[in-house]
């Protein structure tokens, strides 16, 4: 009986570099499409659309080359995203913070964000969360706005 050596299974499917390269090609195509609005001019007299078109071609070419040579990269499904949910929540919270910044002022926005991140996401104890959040909001405002004279938004209630 011949002894069979175990071989690692060859993983089929799209590779990570092939995927990212194709995404760059898609972006380049979009840029070239959006660039139609601007006159390209000629080689001798480039117009406002000349350089963006040149860059779209360059980006697309790089994307194609990355995808072409991407066969040796790891499979796309091996790219791990364990923190993706947390990252998305952080981004959404920051987006809400950005929306609120000019409406309820810097201090209230920062306090709310700090309470959300430390209290809700990190599940720290309520008292330290409150102290850190309020302290951070007021002290950073005092240093940046009062000491360094950087204008920061205030709430309609003066906070």
């Amino acid at each position: 009986m011949t002894e069979q050596t175990p071989q690692a299974p060859v993983k089929r499917g799209l590779k990570s570099d092939q995927f990212s390269g194709l995404m760059l090609v898609a972006l380049a195509l979009y840029i070239a499409w959006a660039n139609q609005e601007y006159p390209v001019g000629s080689l001798a007299q480039p117009g406002p659309g000349y350089m963006p078109l040149l860059l779209a071609i360059f980006l697309g070419a790089m994307g194609l080359l990355i995808a072409f040579w991407g066969g040796r990269s790891r499979p796309l499904r091996d790219v791990q995203w364990p923190e993706a949910m947390r990252a998305t929540i952080i981004l959404i919270a920051c987006g809400v913070g950005a929306f609120a910044l000019e409406r309820i002022g810097y201090r209230l926005t920062v306090i709310a964000l700090m309470i959300f991140f430390t209290g809700v996401m990190e599940r720290k104890k309520p008292l330290p969360v409150l102290l850190v959040s309020v302290g951070f909001g007021f002290i950073s405002f005092y240093v940046v706005a009062d000491l360094l004279d950087v204008p920061l938004p205030r709430s309609p209630w003066g906070l």
Binding site: S20, L59, I66, W69, I90, E122
Partner: protein, 509 residues
Amino acid sequence: MGETFSNLMLGFSIALQPHILVYAFAGCIIGTLVGMMPGLGPLAGISILLPATFGLNPIVAIVLLAGVYYGAMYGGSTTSILMRIPGEAASVMTCVDGYEMTKNGRAGPALAIAAIGSFVAGTFGVVGLMLLAPTLAGWALRFGPPEYTALLMMGLFILAYMSGGSMLKTLAMAGLGLVLGMIGIDAMSGYTRFSFGIVELGDGVGIVPVAVGLFGISEILITAGAATPDNVQKPKLRDLIPSREEFRLSAGPIARGSLLGFLIGIIPGSAHIISSFVSYGIERRMSKHPERFGSGAIEGVAGPESANNAAASGAFVPMMALGIPTSPVTAVMIAAIMVHGISPGPLLMSEQPELFWGFVASMYVGNVVLLILNLPMVGLFVNLLRIPYGYLYPGILCFCILGTYSVANSLIDVWMMLIMGAVGYVLRKFHYDLAPVALGLVLAPILELSLRQSLAMSAGDYGIFVERPIAVTMFALGLIMFLFAIKPLIFKKGKDWRRDVGLEEAEGS
């Protein structure tokens, strides 16, 4: 030489004024703290502090921001050595042997050699800046649009050659940055490009939201939820003194790292990061006992730490002499100077000698301040590392929003920062280097304008680039570098320099 000396004396007369000293000291402290915090590298630190410098005198502003820059270079080594967490990217190589030294009970000497190496290299870099920048500026007075076009193209070619990872990915990221730089009003025709009806985008995409998003926010998105290491060593002052043998072994790496770092710092790209990788590779190759590397060789700390600090000084040469940023950090610093109506470039030294020489002298002072700060006060700084990451990253996020918003009081900038944070997070997952994006963004308007001005000068004749000796030389040099860069891609047997210096050859490149 006599003129340089008298100019330096003028610089010291400015840098030693009490209020400038206070700002240099504050910059160094902030930089050290920023460098130690994972997620806040020098770029994010400088960007966040930028609005606070608008109300300051330009000399004070540049001294403060430069202090943050080289302070962060120093600070990054502390977390690398004590916790195996690089505070900023240039300290990655310091982690390897620095942390092993900590495990072997030699954290003190590792910190001391990192600080001494940084001091020597930083001082060497300032001397280089002082001697090289005026010469380069004098030469650059002969530059016209064709020379600037050639210089920028050469910079992009060299960036491809010197990229730490995949050359194709680096070029793609530079292309992405250049595309972002196309957003806004075209200076020659008045067309508003790719603004999607958003008035604020008419001015283009700012470097600060892009830099903070790509480097600060994306780092937090990747590391949020990470546990805080519970055992952080707190070395005592008496433990810091290296042995005679450790001094002997470190002398060569510090000298080589200083020279190498300064030279790499002048060229575009993530110079301080690449220089530390190259220095580590060279030291390992030159060592009689390369097997010690990875298990606590002090040369593996001395070389990279010296190189990244010298590179930080080297990056100021093209910034001051040519007005061209070679790294995202210098791009933000140029923005800080330009807010005051001063344009860095060949005329800066003759028109604003106080600013240039005051800045050079302040760097000497800053290096001494950092040496004093980093050795005796390391125990104090280490306390920062005890703050649970669950409290630290929300604070960093709020600082990112605050810093980006206050540059122009624009919420669009905050949205741009968040978008770039998400983009940076995804790109990092696919192993793309982000520094060329920021660099491309800054270089795009200069490149486009100089190209179109060159063609206007020559009535559309591209021969202007080969008729002018400086331009054609720079194009040729860039092309040679580019051919070297693509050699391993075409000829599979071609050996990549990255492998020679111990860097991983990138996938698919």
